[in-house]
């Protein structure tokens, strides 16, 4: 018996370790996305999100005030100001005035400028440019500084996605459109699948096993296969692109999994109860409504979560069956893709939108999560 006890403990270890690894695998990128959503695009491009919370030593290119702001004092032309705009918490260590000679001068030292005059930069960013003649040109002098900068986060991305007048109207519209797609597209397949699952689990008729096998077989058919034929069919029968079409499509694509999941759960319900009810004279419909449905609630809820998440995050089916050439029926995912711009690459918007879009599914998940695990195990434990 020793070896059994030993096996058990080492297995527990393995389970714990793999759980930790899996959780880390999922959480790590999510955390990165969350941190990135509070950073500017330039920050994202220049440093990793894991550096975001530490003060960093950065090489910055800053610019003095343009020559037009110079003042004449005792025969000298002077431009003064702060490189950061105002003295902040950044501390300059060294500076330079040419891109190929960074850090040529210590703070407080005076550097000669190429076009005449001198510049002195202090640690807090204050500078003074002096020249015996007037400074010329349109733009200020570039100053390259190496500075210790405290971590900085911004809410700008969220403001952009949610409250920017240019897209907040579209976002609000897309939010309601998405709900209009998602709620019926979740309820309809559950209704149909529950009836079908009961029939396949408890009603005797010829060819039942074959029917179940076919439905399980449908699980492996990729939905991309059906896009064009189905859209052609919708146009043929006159539904066209629209809400009704997308509900039907989501229902069709969701049914095999729904039926399979619910049937496996219902088949596991105790046979005695159902037979007792039959003896007492209950019809199939009464059994279904009064006994099966209440008992199957966990399975129904868990499938509802699946279907809701899938339809909420869906872009492909919506693009094909819903969004017509007028663009009135846009959904959240489509709206987010639009925010990315013609050539993509706006990572800060992507990260932010992901968290905006994830908020509703998260709510749904936490509201119904206690059913999820029970439903997932549906049919697997007798």
């Amino acid at each position: 018996m020793d070896n059994i006890a030993g096996t058990k403990s080492s297995l527990t270890w393995a389970v714990h370790i793999s759980v930790v690894i899996l959780v880390a695998l999922w959480l790590f990128p999510t955390l990165g996305l969350l941190v990135s959503s509070f950073r500017t695009s330039d920050q994202i491009a220049t440093s990793g999100w894991w550096n975001a919370t530490f003060p960093s030593t950065q090489n910055l290119t800053l610019r003095t005030e343009p020559p037009k702001s110079q003042i004449e004092r005792e025969g000298e032309f002077i431009i003064e100001g702060n490189l950061f705009g105002s003295a902040g918490s950044s501390q300059i260590q060294v500076y330079g005035i040419a891109s190929n000679a960074l850090g040529a001068y210590q703070v407080g030292e005076t550097a000669p400028l190429r076009n005449g005059g001198t510049i002195t930069v202090l640690a807090n960013g204050d500078y003074q440019m002096k020249n015996s003649e007037a400074f010329k040109g349109k733009r200020g002098q570039r100053v390259f500084v190496t500075a210790e900068t405290p971590p900085k986060f911004t809410l700008e991305n969220y403001r952009n996605v949610l409250f920017d007048p240019a897209n907040s109207e579209g976002m609000a519209k897309a939010f309601f459109n998405t709900l209009t797609v998602t709620i019926p597209a979740t309820i309809i397949p559950i209704l149909v699948a529950a009836f079908a699952a009961y029939a396949l689990a408890w009603m005797e008729f010829p060819g039942r096993a074959l029917l179940i096998a076919m439905i399980v077989g449908l699980l492996v058919v990729p939905l991309q296969l059906a896009l064009i034929p189905l859209l052609k069919f919708h146009n043929f029968v006159g539904i066209g692109k629209g809400y009704f079409g997308v509900w039907l499509a989501h229902t069709g694509f969701g049914l095999p999994l729904a039926i399979y999941l619910l049937r496996n759960y219902m088949v596991g319900l105790p046979r005695d109860i159902i037979e007792n009810a039959k003896v007492d004279g209950a019809s199939d419909f009464q059994i279904f409504v009064k006994i099966i449905l209440p008992l199957s609630f966990p399975a129904l809820a868990s499938f509802a979560i699946f279907q809701f998440l899938w339809t909420w995050n869906d872009l492909l089916v919506a693009l094909v069956f819903l969004i017509d050439a007028t663009g009135e029926t846009t959904v959240m995912t489509k709206q987010i893709v639009e925010l990315l711009g013609t050539r993509g690459g706006n990572w800060e918007i992507l990260a932010t939108s992901a968290f905006v879009s994830i908020s509703v599914p998260l709510l749904v998940f936490f509201a119904m999560q206690k059913y999820l695990v029970r439903g997932l195990l549906a049919g697997s434990v007798k």
Binding site: T40, S41, D42, A45, T46, N59, L60, T61, A98, S99, N100, A101, L102, K138, R139, R142, F144, A166, E169, K173, F176, N177, T180, L227, I228, L231, K232, H234, N235, G240, K241, L319, V320, I323, D324, A325, T326, G327, E328, V337, E338, L339, L340, G341, T342, R343, G344, G345, N346
Partner: protein
């Protein structure tokens, strides 16, 4: 209960379909140096609320500009114009056309795709007057007609595509102040450019930022390099033969052009991060090296759209500028320019679609976009003073000064090559495969498509 449901449905319907305000007109009719006669002339066509749907590749800020241009058409004719953009235009237009729910007008980013659609009978031909109009009113008009003429399903060649909005690709971007700091001059010839490249290395700097990464389209920036090199090492006729596969892809002249690109991209000292990072660096992040401190590189070759990916607050023309990717002075091939453009085509016949194509011919359509951002046009009848920035005007000049203008070859090749094996082949080449072998493989994939 019933009234509650219907009330809820009504509330939902109201919240779902707010009446979409027409995009505002950025320039009030009658003001500025615009060609307002052409705008007034549009009013002779009255469409009275007829819906015209337009589907294109532009999103985000570009979409706002397109909508503002279309708003003039809507205002003048009374049509209800809807524009929808998509980042997966190429796939979606096929699905919609196949299923019969295509928009009235589609904007193709690649003529190759439009030709494909024409062949399958999804496009409506434009009138012969339009062909004549393009011939006389566009600079190098005949070449634009040729680029928009495709064979339909019966093999008959007709004009289907109308070019509107052009990009120049033969540009090298740099930071003028960095050049000043190091004492470099803008090179006038390819020989000078190579000398400058070596000079920068000798001074301890890195001359180039090159990035080929672009998600599923990784490799396309390299195709632009190779095409530009083809135009700079061979006469334009050879380029045309190459694009049409009249000479094989592994012809020594093509292999030589690929190796010209390799001379820059496969030299560890020439490329920021080393040659090994070329294929994995995203083309959108690649130009940022120009602006880092210290600068990771001094030059970046990319089309006219790239300023959209410069760091925030970069002022083009001051913080960053461009010069023409020069030609060899020793080869006497003139100054060739590589470009690209978007093609408008009718995917669902209607009176409004025809009227919209007419609108695109009017100078006002070009001028309104020019005066906003990122728009170049070969239209000879527009007021070039209206270009929003000097930068755009200078790009326009490059177009006008070109002795040879050629369209992006990869956009003209069959999709399987121009948007497939050519891209992946270039990634392999950047990764160290011999040019000869890569060219051979691309030719094989082309043969397989025939």
């Amino acid at each position: 209960m019933k009234t509650l449901i219907s009330a809820a449905a009504l509330a939902l319907a109201l919240s779902v379909n707010p009446v979409k305000a027409q995009a505002p007109l950025p320039f009030a009719p009658g003001t500025g140096d615009f060609n307002w006669q052409s705008y007034e002339a549009l009013k002779t066509t009255q469409l009275n609320g007829e819906q015209v749907t337009v589907f294109g590749p532009w999103l985000g800020p570009d979409q706002k500009v397109v909508e503002s241009v279309l708003a003039y058409f809507a205002k003048a004719t009374g049509a209800d114009v809807k524009y929808v953009g998509s980042d997966s235009f190429e796939q979606q237009i096929l699905i919609d056309a196949e299923a019969g729910s295509a928009p009235n007008v589609s904007v193709f980013p690649q003529p190759g795709l439009a030709a494909d659609m024409a062949k399958r009978g999804f496009l409506s031909p434009l009138s012969t007057e339009t062909a004549d109009w393009v011939r006389t009113n566009y600079a190098a008009g005949q070449s634009w007609v040729d680029l928009g003429t495709y064979a339909n399903q019966n093999g008959k060649k007709e004009l289907y595509g109308f070019f509107f909005k052009v990009d120049v690709k033969s540009l090298v971007w740099y930071v003028p102040e960095n050049f000043e700091d190091a004492g470099y001059e803008v090179p006038e010839s390819m020989e000078d450019l190579k000398t400058l490249t070596d000079q920068i290395v000798a001074d301890g700097g890195t001359p180039w930022c090159i990035g080929l990464g672009s998600g599923g389209a990784t490799g396309w920036p390299a195709t632009d390099w190779v095409e530009d090199m083809m135009l700079r090492t061979q006469p334009a006729a050879v380029y045309d033969d190459w694009v049409a596969n009249r000479i094989p892809f592994d012809d020594p002249r093509v292999v030589a052009a690929i190796e010209e690109f390799g001379a820059f991209a496969r030299n560890n000292a020439y490329v920021a991060g080393g040659a090994g990072t070329v294929a994995s660096t995203d083309f959108r992040d690649s130009p940022k090296g120009l602006f880092s401190s210290p600068p990771q590189c001094y030059m970046h070759k990319q089309a006219s759209f790239i300023p959209a990916f410069f760091p925030e607050g970069t002022s083009v023309g001051e913080d960053a500028d461009f010069f023409y990717f020069p030609a060899y002075s020793g080869k006497k091939l003139g100054s060739p320019v590589l470009g690209a453009g978007t093609v408008f085509a009718i995917t669902k016949e209607s009176k409004g679609a025809r009227a919209l194509m007419e609108f695109l011919k009017s100078p006002i359509a070009h001028e309104v976009w020019m005066a906003q951002q990122g728009f170049l046009t070969p239209h000879k009848g527009v007021n070039t003073k209206l270009y929003a920035t000097d930068t755009l005007r200078a790009m326009g000049d490059i177009l006008l000064k070109a002795t040879t203008f050629r369209f992006d070859g990869s956009d003209l090749m069959p999709g399987g090559v121009g948007a497939g094996s050519f891209w992946t082949g270039m990634v392999d080449y950047a990764g160290g495969k011999p040019a000869k072998q890569v060219a051979q493989e691309i030719q094989n994939s082309w043969d397989a498509l025939k």
